[in-house]
């Protein structure tokens, strides 16, 4: 059984249909990439999965349970964390407080401090700046904070929306290395990216979205050699 299953979801913004009935699945331990151009419906799909939007039709199943109608604030405690597009760290809170917000649903304080130590291990930069306001961090640091914050809930699956957006090439490489590490440490990853080349290089499988439909899917390595993908997304 797949860990996360999206079945025929249709999502509307008012009268406009953004997602036209897509289905895909994410198995435990996989890194799945959702690629596509601007406006293809990638973010809408993620928002539907984590409950920020609700589909008009279709189902979202997580570990065999229907979570289509579960509100966003109850999704985290099920084991799904969402790193939103544009990072959306709490600018007026310190780095440490932001991380604590990530563990909002967890009760055990001792365990929380342990997880913070783990996050600082993975992102030493955050430890250096733990008492700084998140709004004063650079873009790359904010992305690390957003990822660290999501890891604070000890998710089974982490959903990331455009983690490389607006970052320099060096930072993009760094962010993708971290995603690979997160995956190796046992967290399933669902990744939405415009940087298709990078996304496909670390993904197991990928789905290609175009104007609300999945037009192509399969093994990431195979997709990388696909001519239409090369032309449309890899700039070759």
């Amino acid at each position: 059984m797949a860990m996360l299953e999206v079945k025929n979801i249709e999502v509307y913004y008012g009268m406009i249909q953004a997602i036209k009935g897509i289905s895909f699945e994410v198995n435990e331990g996989e890194v799945i990439a959702l690629i596509g151009a601007n406006g293809a419906g990638k973010t809408t799909t993620l928002h539907t999965i984590t409950g920020l939007l609700s589909p008009k039709r279709g189902l979202v199943m997580f570990e065999g349970n229907d979570i289509t109608k579960v509100p966003a604030h109850k999704i985290v405690s099920l084991g799904m964390a969402h790193v939103p597009e544009g990072r959306r760290v709490f600018a007026e809170l310190t780095v440490y407080e932001n991380l604590k917000m990530g563990a909002y649903t967890r009760k055990d304080r001792g365990e929380m401090e342990q997880t913070i130590a783990m996050v600082y291990d993975r992102f030493p930069r955050l430890k250096e700046r733990k008492n700084q306001l998140a709004g004063t961090l650079s873009g790359g640091e904010q992305q690390m904070l957003a990822m660290g914050r999501a890891l604070m809930s000890k998710p089974k699956i982490i959903v990331m929306d455009e983690p490389s957006m607006g970052l320099s090439p060096i930072l993009v490489n760094q962010i993708f290395e971290i995603i690979e590490e997160v995956s190796k440490s046992g967290t399933t990853v669902l990744l939405v990216e415009q940087n298709a080349k990078k996304a496909l290089s670390i993904a197991d499988r990928a789905y290609v979205l175009e104007t609300g439909n999945i037009v192509l899917s399969g093994d990431a390595k195979t997709l990388m050699d696909d001519d239409s993908i090369k032309k449309a997304y890899l700039g070759e």
Partner: protein, 294 residues
Amino acid sequence: MSFISYLINGVSLGSVYAIIALGYTMVYGIAKMLNFAHGDVIMIGAYVVMAAISGAGLPPGVAVLLSIVCCLILGIVIESVAYRPLLNAASSLAVLITAIGVSYLLQNVALLIFGANTISFDSVVSVPAVTLMDGALTITGEAIVTIVSCIVIMIALTLFISRTKSGQAMRAVSEDKGAAQLMGIHVNGTIALTFAIGSALAAIAGVLLCSSYPSLNPYTGAMPGIKAFVAAVFGGIGSIPGAFIGGILLGVIEIFGKAYISSQMADAIVFGVLIVILLVKPAGILGKNVQEKV
């Protein structure tokens, strides 16, 4: 000596404004709306105390607690019935107009129940007045209790916001509701909590105000409510220390205006100050000029 006595009166009145302004500023900070019915909750709070003492014969302390609980519930009901359905409305004017409507509703309900006559409110404060400097300066018990209450509330609220989990959730919600939801924070619950705290504070403000200025009618809350709103804008709306500073300054300006310039002109002076502040520093004394980072 009269200068010091005016100053103390001003700080005392300002403390009441500050406590009311907290309700405005917290609700604005979190729900991004102006709750213009906030002033009328003060009046309801004062009526509950009066009814509990003279009607039911309860001791003042119990009456004040009862009033706090009533206003707290009233705040939650107002939020969930009148405002929550409109928070995502296309125009933010919808909720503003509704708030004005709720304000009139509360005034008219009070008119129906308690009548239009101004009644005299018996002070609930039993602290004796303090006489200093051989009788040259007298500080009323009401002034002492009001100022102390304001300071205690400020400290408690600041600790609550910075130290507790719910307080941090409030700060997160005030910044980014969507991201807060992704953290597992129940946004509507947090907004309701904010209304509850603001309204409970309004009850306290109502009791303190009517203890110092002992007359009560269904419109008693309207003017202090508006002035506290001015105080909140003055200090920087959304900022808790701003509400404190704005409230105290406004109270002092009002009392000095009454004492040294003209008692008829006092309100005009208060609102004149608002205009000047908005011209010079639109975000208020402690307000932030929000800049989007791209």
